[in-house]
Symmetry: D2
Subunit: 159 residues, 4 copies
């Protein structure tokens, strides 16, 4: 079974996030990883487009019940019908989780990925979380390029 | 995007259900459909094995959070962590739903598929549902062979 | 903590189901049980109305995110936002499950209650489930009056 | 129907968070609000204990299927069986959301509450969220006493 990587990010994202997501998707597909995403616009559509441009497989896990709400470039659509509870399903499905950009929905995915534990969680752009003393809460890896985002998952140690 | 067919059935099934599920999986894969199943034993494992034997793609939508609980022969695993609520996700993901064999969990999937509406629901073996007057509740199609199960979905009208 | 009883039934129900649901709700409230229901129309609204008429507590577990979609007569509203997955939450919340009337959504609740196991499941009117040999699938208790529906839960053995 | 307030916080919390949660629970009960919480240890148990000490009603929305996993002091238990997806159900159920203390699970609840929109979200202790420029992400109200936590919900404007 192929490696699966969950990629999360806002439906309304910056153009920088969008091009980063596209490149992350392309790189994941090149390495044979299946991309799991939320199947909507913004980062979700961009990572799907990037992965498909390299012949990859992309699963879109939708909040609603209707397949027609999905972005293009999905190989498989899972219209869960469970609303925002689909966020947890996405992060549970990755051997690693990459979070690109910031929004409240995206933050819920980052938090659920860390709550899950046991898998690498890589943040690329977006928001920062400080504890009560103003220090970064440990555990998240921070990437500054698409290549680094993949490297920090640790899934391809030989590269 | 490929046609997706949800195939549901008991984790403890009869040997007849098992061989039927295997054959349904094989036929679906031959026609290029993606199989969505529950990713466990019994009918779920059999439909996955049949589809993979013909080079097909199979998605296992698990109740738990752990990918290691999945049956073999899955191409993609979605470990939802939402328990039996995953039953609704499976049936939402099909352009048609095929139900093989009978159990309470399987009946919940049949019922949710009919509740959803708008997609063909085909039953192959298993339990029967009668209304208060003792008449079959309409809407479900009944198949007696794997080929007929596929035909009754109406997804391949030309065959 | 009070006894909790889940009461399920169609949103479009017969007038007989409606009056039965109202009486079941009243009796449950008289015995101090909290009623858990789906919070919409039909059997759900009727059981809530019956329970409130006797000063009882009723929890409505809604599929949607909006409290305004609820029926009257609820003490507490849980707008889950998880769609039909809320059916399993309702049946998980009862020390017993009473099912009044028949519909596909209602059947999914009956099936999930039986799938859960370990709690009494009482059916009052509605559909019947036969196995492959045409015999009733065992495990469900059948009531023909509201009083009998409560008695068959076994929760009030002294009465 | 009573006002409902969701109170979220870590299962492993500081003693300060615990006493704050207890006091928030007590104040909410005094004002007649129903408390919705996660029904486990830490902040969840403390807010329940505080509310019950003042005769309040507390609903525990559990991740698991087993009512016996719940903390004491709950009036009603909803054992959802949907795992961490119950976090979203808790925050959907409040006319306001109060978050006490910091953890990844708690952050997911804060994020989902903000993602939901339209209800006051008050944070009392715990973590801080900064945007990409190092500025606090707007929208969350910050309380430094239990009284202020209630005041910032805006639900009791006359007080």
């Amino acid at each position: 079974m192929a490696i699966q990587v969950a990629v999360c990010g806002p439906r309304d994202c910056t153009s920088g996030d969008e091009s980063n997501a596209r490149e992350v998707g392309r790189l994941l597909a090149e390495r044979g990883a299946v991309v799991i995403c939320g199947g909507h616009t913004g980062v979700m559509a961009a990572v799907a487009a990037g992965a498909r441009s390299a012949g990859g497989t992309v699963v879109g896990v939708l909040p609603g019940e209707d397949r027609r709400d999905a972005c293009r470039d999905l190989s498989i659509v899972i219209p869960t019908g469970v609303g925002e509870a689909r966020n947890g399903i996405i992060v549970n499905s990755g051997d690693a989780v990459i979070v690109i950009g910031g929004s409240w929905g995206t933050l819920s995915e980052l938090a659920l990925a860390m709550r899950r534990g046991g898998v690498p969680v890589v943040q690329f752009g977006g928001w920062r979380i400080l504890d009560g003393d103003g220090r970064p809460v440990p555990g998240v890896e921070y990437a500054s390029t698409p290549e680094e985002a993949l490297a920090l998952t640790g899934l391809w140690p030989g590269r």
